[in-house]
């Protein structure tokens, strides 16, 4: 009798499936990135040509835009799987659901978080952010966006079964995003002024470890509730 695949194989398989699905629905997944770029581009137009002001508020603008872009993309983690019954199949898998959830959330970060990391330097340059702050900006996005996906997944898992879950989702998730916003923006500001940023970065790393180790289990439990 044949046996089930190893957990790692199943993880990689589901990750690849989600990336493939994202690639085939690329228009839908380009939306959050487009939103991120547009919001940040509109600020200089609205505020006028004041380089000092723009450089001053750049960390805040970029991170608020990243937060909203992440919110915009959250629903796609589980929505289509819930609607077509694939989620039931995942919940009935022989593998631990939490690990499969981790695969799905990782795929979500690769298609929504990673692109932000790639366009952020361009946008930072456009807003006139000083060079030494840009490296910190990238670091905060690298550490911060996975937290947004992880925490967001819990919220989506709780609301995916509701007919109008969108509003509840933002109310649930935004407060949990605020600490990331505060520490990330503060790190970039400190870097711009030439101060030490390790405290904020360590704090963000701690959030990341906490969310990676707890969120998949919470998400799996919430999905079971939503599916029943």
């Amino acid at each position: 009798m044949s046996s089930r695949l190893s957990l790692l194989q199943a993880f990689v398989f589901l990750l690849r499936r989600d990336l493939l699905l994202a690639f085939r629905n690329r228009a839908e997944y380009a939306m959050p990135l487009l939103f991120f770029v547009l919001v940040i581009t509109l600020f200089p137009l609205a505020l006028g040509a004041l380089p000092e002001l723009l450089a001053r508020i750049a960390p805040g603008i970029i991170w608020v835009a990243a937060l909203l872009a992440a919110m915009l993309s959250l629903d796609s983690i589980f929505r289509s799987d819930f609607d077509d019954g694939s989620l039931e199949q995942i919940l009935l898998s022989a593998h631990p659901v939490a690990i499969l959830v981790l695969a799905k959330v990782s795929a979500h970060w690769l298609v929504t978080g990673l692109p932000l990391l790639i366009v952020a330097p361009l946008l930072a340059e456009m807003l006139g952010m000083p060079g030494q702050a840009q490296a910190t900006l990238l670091l905060t996005i690298l550490i911060g966006t996975p937290i947004l996906s992880m925490v967001g997944a819990i919220g989506v898992a709780l609301t995916v079964g509701l007919r109008k879950g969108g509003i509840i989702l933002s109310l649930l998730v935004l407060p949990l995003y605020v600490p990331v916003l505060i520490f990330a923006a503060s790190a970039i500001e400190n870097a711009a002024m030439g101060f030490e940023v390790s405290a904020q970065i360590y704090m963000l790393l701690a959030f990341l470890l906490l969310s990676v180790s707890l969120s998949p289990w919470a998400t799996a439990a919430a999905l079971r509730m939503s599916a029943s």
């Binding site: 044949s2 019954g85 009935l92």
Partner: protein, 210 residues
Amino acid sequence: MPETALLESQDLSCIRNDRALFEHLDFTLESGEMLVVEGPNGCGKTSLLRILTGLRLADSGEVLWRGQPIDRLAGDYYEQVTYVGHHDGVKHELSCLENLRLARAMGVPSERDLDDVLEQVNLYAYGDSEVGSMSAGQKRRLALARLLATDSMIWILDEPFTSLDKSSMAMFTTLFEQHLQRDGIIVATSHHDITLPTLALQRLNLGQPA
């Protein structure tokens, strides 16, 4: 070795919207037996099936697999179960083969070649085409093809024959019979008549909603 009851429901009740759909339901399925759940719309057939898969919690009672409650077995129970629910559970953006490969990765892959599986459900020509462009009956056949692509003992089927034509129904009925002969277990709801020549067919009528 004396055969213990494989799948057992003890005192199951299901309450929905303050109304009891069924109460104190007991049945036992040994290997090679099939249970057909019958009853009018809204009598709790789907709920019963979802309780048997563990997707839904029973309001009282429990489901036992080889004498152990299924919620404690988790993965060890799920590798024995293939569920085809009301939704097909296939991804429209993926091809037939990609969908079946995923089903195998989630459960226990059978030794059958996937091309043979598709051939058996008459979808061989559609292996690489996107599921979204196929008809409802073809999607249903693909969903049921999961039963062959994975190696599981318990098949739980919610209206398996929805949108299937007569020849496909006959083909799947034959497959069900083969599964029972290999000592498998099937639990199904169906508005279509499932006629199997085997005697191992139990019928459970959930009756009128109270």
